[in-house]
Symmetry: C2
Subunit: 293 residues, 2 copies
């Protein structure tokens, strides 16, 4: 029997590695680039997120016996994916989008700096993601960059669906399609990318990522309904306030919980053939559901 | 003696090819993606620009004997670069940046649609640029994607310098650094990318691109000072109105003209060893200076 994974410890370890790497990169960008842009990029990147996407990349790579070291392609992809995720948060918080003042308990980038800088931080982070991923000249990065581009576009499609959905009664199928694009695309890319870094192909982990993404988004919607801003580090109840349809608002809280559990179980079942090396990824699947923020 | 290039005809030919390809791509995006996002992407991309960057890519590739056909890497890079350029225009026009209502004689994207859509159009176009460039799985696209990412980040650095410069007296060196980043980065990448598509290396055309970029930007600043909105298809005199330092405002119109001519001459001189295949690129260097809009 493999020793059980302490998921909080695992995530803390990933966070420390990711934060160390991002700090080094930000120092380099600040050395050569203009302020306040590069300071604002650092502010956005080092805001203390859970680093779930990097954790999924590394756990997926590990599940297939790949290299998760500091010089490996997996960590490089993990950082690039986190940069894309961070750019989307910075732009999402802008007045013309969700108009949020608070993110992870701190002022959002356009509040700490200004709107123009926040716009450029997001734009620049997307470029920096691809630059970092491709900077070694390693040809094996090309399919990962293609995956990053595909999932980043899918995410934008999801955000556009989300905007179009406000104040309109969505059906269940529409809500599921929106979730699969807006949040699911990057989470799926995390698992697929970890697998590609290890084996050169998604190796079925894209399907695991889809299940995980669904469980994650339902859990997120449930937290928005049932938690508070102090716990979340951001406004609670904002989906309802914005008139946004979510799976819980359509099928009810209990049924939504059941669906999230089912998606998590399916992800774990898909990982069964991979044995002990997939234990961190299994623990992450369970964490996605059990997290309190 | 090579027959002289009719530059207007050459540019018209490139524009038609680029527009045909972009129309095909936009049709595909509209087929699978949400409206109005994908319609707004098409609106932004097919607004009738000069397609100078794609022309520079193709002329640079041709100058080194590379493949400029529809299935070649050069055209793929040319389209990706035009997508990045277009994303920057859409975001630049937003109220928190330049706040422009008119672009190429038509309402800007946030005027024709709304701010949130314009934000997502820009974000999405950057992703689509990398996706298109990398979509064939051709490993030779990796260095071009790295170049695209590097120049896109440099452009954002330039925009940040530009914002920081408003209302402040810039020195000549600062203005030159700003120009090299904001406009020069993509124009340099156009020439370098065409060369990489042909030979696998920049082959000195990055320096040609730098000279061309400088000549282009000075010409742009001179047009802003001396032309009118009807000719330009956008507001004239906006640099002065915004209190932006430009090279003409620092060294005077005549000296700026002389510098632009010198940069153009240097670009042409650098191309001398390449002989007849570089004739379109030489003609573009002269066009950059002589254009009326």
């Amino acid at each position: 029997m493999p020793s059980p994974i302490h998921i909080e410890e695992y995530l803390r370890g990933v966070s420390e590695r990711v934060n160390d790497q991002l700090r080094l990169l930000a120092a380099e960008w600040k050395r050569t680039g203009p302020k306040p842009l590069t300071e604002a990029v650092e502010y956005a990147l080092l805001a203390g997120g859970k680093r779930l996407r990097p954790a999924l990349v590394l756990a997926s790579c590990e599940a297939l016996g790949g290299d998760v070291g500091d010089d490996g392609l997996a960590l490089r992809f993990a950082l690039a994916l986190e940069m894309v995720h961070t750019y989307s948060l910075v732009h999402d918080d802008l007045p013309c989008m969700d108009d949020d003042d608070l993110r992870r308990g701190r002022p959002t980038v356009h509040k700490a700096y200004d709107e123009a800088t926040a716009m450029l931080v997001g734009d620049g982070l997307q470029s920096l993601a691809f630059r970092h991923l491709l900077s070694t000249g390693d040809a094996r990065a090309a399919p990962l960059a293609a995956l990053l581009a595909e999932s980043a576009w899918r995410m934008v499609e999801g955000q556009a669906l989300d905007i179009g959905a406000e104040g309109r009664a969505l059906g269940e199928a529409e809500v599921l399609a929106l979730m699969a694009a807006k949040t699911g695309a990057l989470l799926t890319a995390a698992c697929a990318g970890g697998a590609i870094a290890a084996t050169g192909a998604p190796s079925g982990l894209d399907r695991v990522g889809q299940k995980l993404g669904l469980a994650f988004q339902i859990a997120d919607d449930l937290l928005d309904l049932t938690s508070d801003a102090a716990t979340l580090g951001k406004r609670a109840g904002k989906d309802q306030a914005a008139g946004k349809a979510t799976l819980p608002s359509i099928v009810g809280i209990e049924e939504a919980r059941r669906r999230a559990q089912a998606a998590c179980d399916e992800a774990v079942a898909l990982l069964a053939p991979l044995g002990a090396p997939a234990e961190p990824l299994r623990a992450l699947a369970r964490f996605v559901l059990a997290r309190k923020k």
